[in-house]
């Protein structure tokens, strides 16, 4: 019985150490190949992404990511919802907040996450974070 307890203790310690190592070694960023079909990828990256980039009205730098404001018309809402669904599946490292301001105010979407997310956005998504030159009504 004592040896069984020792064995279980050893297993638990191993699990804890392994979990700690796994946490520190886990990658920050990866894509899941099976998350989107080729057709969904084309729509996500070639259609929805550029359309939303063009509609940004505000870009807000945060300590750990970026926030964007978009108009709250029905088309933008549908595009954004579809886009975020793709991001959620394809790029699960983002922590995404979506806020709908009251009284038909703007849509606010915030991309944050684990340390490095902000630098990741800056390295890969310059179109998203470039300043909005003309504020649209």
């Amino acid at each position: 019985m004592k040896s069984l307890s020792l064995l279980i203790t050893a297993l638990l310690v191993s699990a804890l150490i392994g979990h700690a190592n796994a946490s520190s070694a886990a990658p920050s960023f990866y894509c899941d190949m099976s998350a989107l079909t080729p057709a969904e990828r084309t729509r996500h990256f070639d259609v929805l992404g550029p359309a939303l980039v063009a509609k940004r009205t505000v870009v807000r730098e945060l300590a750990n990511g970026y926030e964007f404001e978009l108009p709250s018309d029905a088309e933008t809402w549908q595009q954004l919802a579809e886009y975020l669904e793709g991001e959620r599946r394809c790029c699960p490292f983002f922590d995404i907040d979506l806020r709908i301001a009251p009284h038909h105010g703007p849509l606010r979407v915030r991309f944050t996450g684990r340390p490095g997310v902000k630098q990741f956005i800056e390295a890969d998504a310059p179109d998203w974070i470039k300043p909005v030159t003309a504020v649209k009504p």
């Binding site: 307890s5 279980i8 203790t9 297993l11 638990l12 191993s14 699990a15 804890l16 392994g18 979990h19 796994a22 070694a25 886990a26 990658p27 920050s28 960023f29 990866y30 894509c31 899941d32 190949m33 099976s34 080729p38 990828r41 996500h44 990256f45 790029c91 990741f120 390295a123 890969d124 998504a125």
Partner: protein, 178 residues
């Protein structure tokens, strides 16, 4: 009928998924590949050359599976170019294998034209993907030693320093062949 269960049993059951799940977590090195001979292949590069992996025996090879739509891949590619440039003379060869759809050759070509890299870009076929475990997560990188055996397999990107450290360790393991 009930029984009073040992707290050890409860704790063991609680932590067991963590133990069993470690190897399935994206990003962790998959130890089951380490020490195995890297599956050989012949692939065509974007510029039309045939590249055979086994012809690089004696080099340390970073075999990087990527796709043009994969954001982490795009972030990592300049790191690979830099490593290839700085450590190529010490025996490092970087190979990028695009897993974009076969119909997307032009898209890959445009991508590389816009973001040039200093190493060969190969166009995948399903056989190679399959030989390397299906490549579900991107980027996926195999570090292959001078003897053609896999030293490390990683998913996703961690840090540039981590990547360089593992490459330097592999390069230091044996002198380059003449």
């Amino acid at each position: 009928m009930t029984s009073r269960r040992s707290p050890w049993r409860a704790l063991t059951l609680f932590f067991m998924p963590a133990v069993l799940g470690l190897h399935s977590m994206p990003g962790l090195g998959d130890e089951s590949w380490v020490g195995k001979a890297a599956p050989d292949f012949v692939l065509t590069s974007l510029d039309g050359r045939r590249v055979r992996l086994s012809e690089l025996r004696g080099h340390v090879v970073l075999l990087n599976f990527w796709a043009s739509w994969c954001a982490p891949c795009r972030v990592e590619m300049p790191w690979l170019t830099d490593l290839d440039k700085r450590l190529g003379a010490r025996g490092l060869s970087v190979l990028g294998v695009s897993v974009d759809e076969p119909d997307d050759r032009e898209r890959v070509a445009r991508f590389i034209h816009d973001r040039p890299v200093g190493y060969p870009i190969l166009l995948q076929d399903e056989t190679v993907k399959s030989k390397y475990g299906g490549v579900q997560y991107l980027p996926q990188t195999f570090l292959i030693g001078r003897d053609g055996r896999i030293l490390r397999r990683t998913y996703g990107i961690r840090s540039r320093a981590d990547l360089e450290q593992s490459v330097r360790s592999a390069l230091g393991s044996a002198p380059p062949r003449a």
